[in-house]
Each structure stands twice: as C-alpha cells, then as structure tokens.
Amino acid sequence: MKKVFLFLAAMIPLTVFAAGNPGFGERKYSVSGLAEYSYNTTWGHHANFDIQGLMPINPHFEMEAKMHLSTANVYTGSVYLRPKFELPVGELFIETDVMYRAVARNKIGDITAALGVGYRMDYVSVTLGMFGRVFDNWERDWHSNETYVVEPFNMLYRLEVFCRPQANPWNLSFVFTNVDDKHMERMWQPLFMVNAYYDVVEHWRLLFGAQCKPTGMFHLDASFYGASLRTGFSYRF
C-alpha cells in the first residue's frame, strides 16, 4: 500500500506541470448540479443531490471532485486525479480515485481508493483497475478487539458505449460497471447505467442518467435491488 501512495505522490506533480496538445474530446472546466430520485430495498425511496466539478488543468491532467448528499442520511465525497495521454487513436488515461462515504444512518465510514487504466475512443471507453476498501465503525471502542474491516483488493471495471462521437453536442451512452459517483461496489455486484447529455446553449449542458442495481447476479440468482433516475445541468466554462 505504501508503494502505491509513493507512486501516486510522484505521478501527480509530473502530470500537473506537463504541457502538450489539447485533450481528447475537448474536456472543459465545468460545474454540475444534479438531483436524483433513488430506491433500493434497504433504504427505500430517497433523494440525492450531486455537485461535481471538473478541472482539466492541462492537456495531460484533469481533476474531478464530486459530492453526493442523500436524504437517506448518507454523504459521499470523492476526488479523481486523471493523468491522460493522447494516442493516434483515442486517449489513454490513468484513473486514481479516493472516495469517502459517510453512512451516518448506520454510523459507518467507508473509504475506498482506486487505481485504474482506461482507454477512451469516440464510441467506447474502458477502464480496468483495482481498489481497496476500509469499513470503519464510528462507535468502535478503542479498547476492544475490533479493528477496521479491510477489503484490500477489488476489481474496478467500467465499460461505456456511446451512440455519438465524444465531441458531439448530444450523446447517449450505456454503461456496465461496478463504480459510480457514490460508491464502489464489490466486483461481483455490477451496475447498469444509461447516461445522456444535450448541449442546450453554448455553456449549458443538460444531463440525464438512469441506473439499475440488481443483486445476486453472481449467486446466479439475480433479483432487483435498486434503481435511480437523475437529471441536472452542467455549466461549461
């Protein structure tokens, strides 16, 4: 784990100060706000609010910060550092994420850290990587035998297929993954998403998203667990 942190620490300054050609897909500074209706069989019906900021600092590096607030009394904050390298076809990127989920309703902290490699083209984006997780009980007695629960190795995957090229003023995509803006699920707990955007006017982008979360797919006994629908705006500077 120490080696991973050292690697990340060394990589960040290198990529921040690097310079080069404009990035793939014309990523711009943007701020987004989304409202989400969500249901799962554990928390029932609830609403979520997302605030997200994208900072393509230079053509080889972008940062993203996300905050997810839920009426289920769960709050998530995440930071993404994304070094990227333009290739003759598409773009290669390294995904480094840290996410903290404060599950206040159950007094549990869930922190995850991920490292992945991705490749993005006009119609397809693929990311593969690993992440580690630590569950912490907020009420833990420091004098007891109880410690953190550590799940050191999980696989991260995300396959997104787009209907239009990435620079298009509208797009629709289908996603198969185990990570989203609010959690990193165990590798055998996939999520299915449909995302869309439409550039209404020069700076404003309308966002839509839907997600379905089954349970027990790899028990070979899948059933419905949860779903969500969201919409919002993105202001692109």
């Binding site: 554990t42 309703r105 009980n137 349970t215 027990g216 028990h219 899948a222």
Partner: protein, 297 residues
C-alpha cells in the same frame, strides 16, 4: 469478428447448459439475469406460513453447556458425499448435548435432496438431535425452492435452547440465498431482535449462507450483499447484541469483528475441495469454537 463469434458460442453454451435438461448441471446460468423461481420475499412468506403452523421451537438441552456441530457448502451429489457422511458420523458419536447446523449449499446438482435426506435425516427443522439447515444459492437453482421446501419446510426461522425452563441461547436462521434478505425478512429480523434482545438470552447467534465481507481473493466469483444492505445489516446486528454470525458460501474460513459482532465464515464440506473443514462450538457462559479438518482420502 472471430472473437465475437467465440464469445457468443460460449454464452450460448452456458445458457443451453442452464435449460434444466441436463440433470447433472450444477450452475443455473439463467439465474444471472432473472430469479431462480420464487424471490426471497415469497420464500420468506412460505417459511413464515410453516413457522406459524409449527409453533415456536424451544430445544431443551438439559444442560447449560452443549455442543453445536456446524458445516457448510457440502455440495453433495448422489455420487459424492463422503465429507457430509463423516460430519454426521462425528455429530452422532458425540456424547454431550448437541445440535447440528448446515449453512447452505447442501446439494450441488439437481435432484439431490432425497440423497441429502438420507444422510442428514432432517425432520422439518423441528426435532432435536437432527440437523437444522439454511438455504444456499445452489439449493434453489433450477427452481428447486418447492423441493427444498418439501423436505426442510422453512428457510427463515428462529429457535432457542433451554435448560428446563431456563432460557439459554437464541438462534436465528436467515434466507440469503440470492444475496439479499429482502424487505419483509429484514423487517421481521429487526422486530424479532428488538423483542428477543430484552428477554435475557445468554448469546444471540445468527446463521445464514451468504458471507458479508470480501477480505481477500479466496471467495472466487461468489458475491456478497449490496453495500447498502451490508451497512444496514451489520448495524442492526451490532445494535441488538448479536454475538456471532456464522456463514459459508465462499468456501474459505474467515473471522472478522465489526460493531461488536463476530463474523465467522466456514470452509466448505464439499468433497475434493481444498481446505475442507467443519466447526464445533462449545456453548456455555462463553463461546469457544474449533475447526476440524476432514480426513484425506
């Protein structure tokens, strides 16, 4: 294009293998996309119907101290059930007051419940000196819930052990065969724990098939509950003073303490599996458990 053809051939083969024609098929691949027959809420309703007819189950151990033999994931077929035979022989030979629990995945392939019956001699989860079971995902593949039900009657129930009129320990069996407890079972569990945690039981034990944590790569492709359910379930168990959760599913032993609850995952009892073992638990004022390796062939 060749790769797509190759992949589609594999997918078709897996799906065809899931059609139930092959009686030795062990995996119901269609279950990746839809439930294997009745979903957990329906199974829970069926179980509660039986529990209500049967009445409360109190097992008089005639002693404060007794032993529990616990095994999991026997995956028996008509051809191979050596370890489960051994487990039952050890259990029957024990002289102290005793109980036995099976944590699910009793069978591996279809049509093996009669064989399981002949080995473990269950009697509708009611009679002392027999094995009480929980439901595993393999037990319901190919829509086998009705068959499981005809033998074991219920997949979610509670019972307690007593010494005469003195209450000893509370045991709660949960149906997690499809990786979730479902809405009605979760509500039932919370109400049950709320009520029973005030009744002065010495220990409260929960047993179920699906394990909760993914501590390492030993679990292969077996999945856990969704994260939201993991948070909620573990919080509930901690809040009401559950001391142990025993589960199987991943075929490799694990031990975790979270929110004051000890989560023990058992090795498999499946023949020819690496690292097979079962667990014996001495129930007294404290709980002491040991793992026992099955003898090699």
């Amino acid at each position: 294009m060749k790769q797509i053809h190759f992949l589609s051939t594999i997918v078709c083969a897996l799906l065809l293998s899931a059609c139930g024609q092959n009686k030795d098929a062990t995996l119901d691949m269609l279950g990746m996309f839809s439930p294997n027959g009745e979903v957990v809420n329906t199974r829970f309703a069926n179980s509660q119907e039986y529990n209500a007819q049967r009445g409360e189950m109190h097992i008089d151990m005639q002693s404060d101290d007794y032993a529990i033999y616990v095994c999991s994931d026997s995956h028996i077929t008509k051809k191979t059930h050596r370890n489960l035979d051994y487990f039952m022989a050890q259990y029957k030979a024990a002289s102290s007051p005793k109980l036995a629990l099976h944590l699910g995945d009793i069978i591996d392939a279809q049509e093996n419940f009669p064989c399981a019956d002949s080995i473990i001699h269950f009697a509708g989860q009611t009679i002392k000196d027999t094995m009480l079971v929980t439901l595993g995902n393999h037990d319901i593949y190919f829509k086998q819930w009705s068959i499981f039900r005809s033998f074991f009657k219920t997949s979610a129930y509670w019972f307690d052990t007593r010494n005469g009129s003195k209450k000893l320990d509370l045991f709660i069996c949960l149906d997690s065969a499809e990786g979730t407890l479902g809405t009605t079972q979760t509500k039932w569990l919370e109400n049950l724990l709320k009520e029973k945690s005030k009744e002065g039981y010495r220990h409260i034990i929960v047993y179920t098939h699906t394990h909760l944590w993914k501590l390492d790569g030993s679990q292969g492709h077996t999945s856990n509950m969704a994260l939201e359910e993991t948070y909620s379930f573990t919080d509930m168990l901690g809040k009401y003073g559950v001391q142990y959760v025993w589960s199987g599913h991943q075929h490799a032993r694990q031990s975790v303490i979270f929110k004051g609850v000890n989560y023990l995952v058992l090795d498999a009892t499946k023949d020819e599996e690496k690292g097979q073992s079962y667990m014996t638990v001495n129930m007294g004022s404290s709980i002491i458990y040991h793992y026992h390796t099955y003898p090699a062939l």
